[in-house]
């Protein structure tokens, strides 16, 4: 049984609503099923479904990962919801070792296009990379 304190770090309903709205507008997403205030199933076109755990932890560490897996060992991804939130490098690696992606809100929206290692390792392009891509397109 997880630490009861964890339940105080549930994501806000309005954040979940926005997240679901963004996901549903993604061309690779067929549907999003909200199972509970912190659990979603993302159904993807021609790709495996993703069982996603949502949290609102300011900085998610190894102990939080342990707690989430104690609560739900069958997840494919953990997403920490607020734009201010983050996670430790160790927590990211810990999740990856279990085949689970650990993402911030915006990162997951990009990761959802991928599977396997590419999904687990996804990080959005930096501002410089975006600029470079834009430049290439305009040339």
């Amino acid at each position: 049984m997880p630490d009861s304190g964890h339940f105080e770090e549930r994501p806000r309903k309005e954040s979940v609503d926005i997240f679901v709205k963004y996901l549903k507008s993604n061309p690779v997403v067929e549907d999003v099923i909200v199972e509970s205030e912190c659990r979603l199933i993302v159904r993807r076109k021609s790709k495996a479904d993703l069982r996603v755990y949502l949290t609102n932890t300011y900085v998610l560490g190894d102990a939080d990962v342990h707690e989430i897996f104690s609560e739900d060992p069958n997840i494919d991804a953990i997403v920490t919801m607020s734009q201010w939130n983050g996670y430790s490098e160790s927590a990211k690696l810990n999740c990856k070792g279990r085949g689970v992606g650990l993402f911030k809100f915006g990162e997951f929206l990009g990761a959802v296009y991928y599977e396997g290692e590419k999904f687990l390792d996804y990080s959005p392009p930096s501002d410089e990379e975006r600029e470079a891509r834009r430049g290439r397109r305009w040339r």
Binding site: V59, G61, S70
Partner: protein, 89 residues
């Protein structure tokens, strides 16, 4: 406060405060960072320690957000510097 201190000590830990409580007169919540010694307690035990700390601090009317990181995670990040964390214990 004695109980809270006992919990932090048992985790081989340190407690820091950060965020709006350091800058605002009437913060809506208090951000705390509990750093535990992962060579002394497991991640599961650290979660139990956080829960106990939350209980020990419940008498304060302001909601508390308690982040939980191992000393190793703290050392490999700049969290304490970037968040200007102030030590409590």
């Amino acid at each position: 406060m004695k109980n809270a201190k006992r919990v932090v000590d048992a985790a081989g830990g340190r407690l820091f405060v950060f965020g709006s409580v350091l800058t605002e007169e009437k913060p809506r919540h208090v951000d705390l960072l509990l750093v535990y010694d992962s060579s002394r307690i497991t991640a599961g035990e650290a979660c139990v320690a956080r829960s106990a700390l939350r209980t020990a601090l419940r008498k304060f009317s302001v909601p508390m957000d308690i982040c939980l990181l191992s000393a190793r995670e703290v050392e490999s990040s700049k969290f304490i510097e970037e968040e200007s964390c102030k030590p409590v214990w």
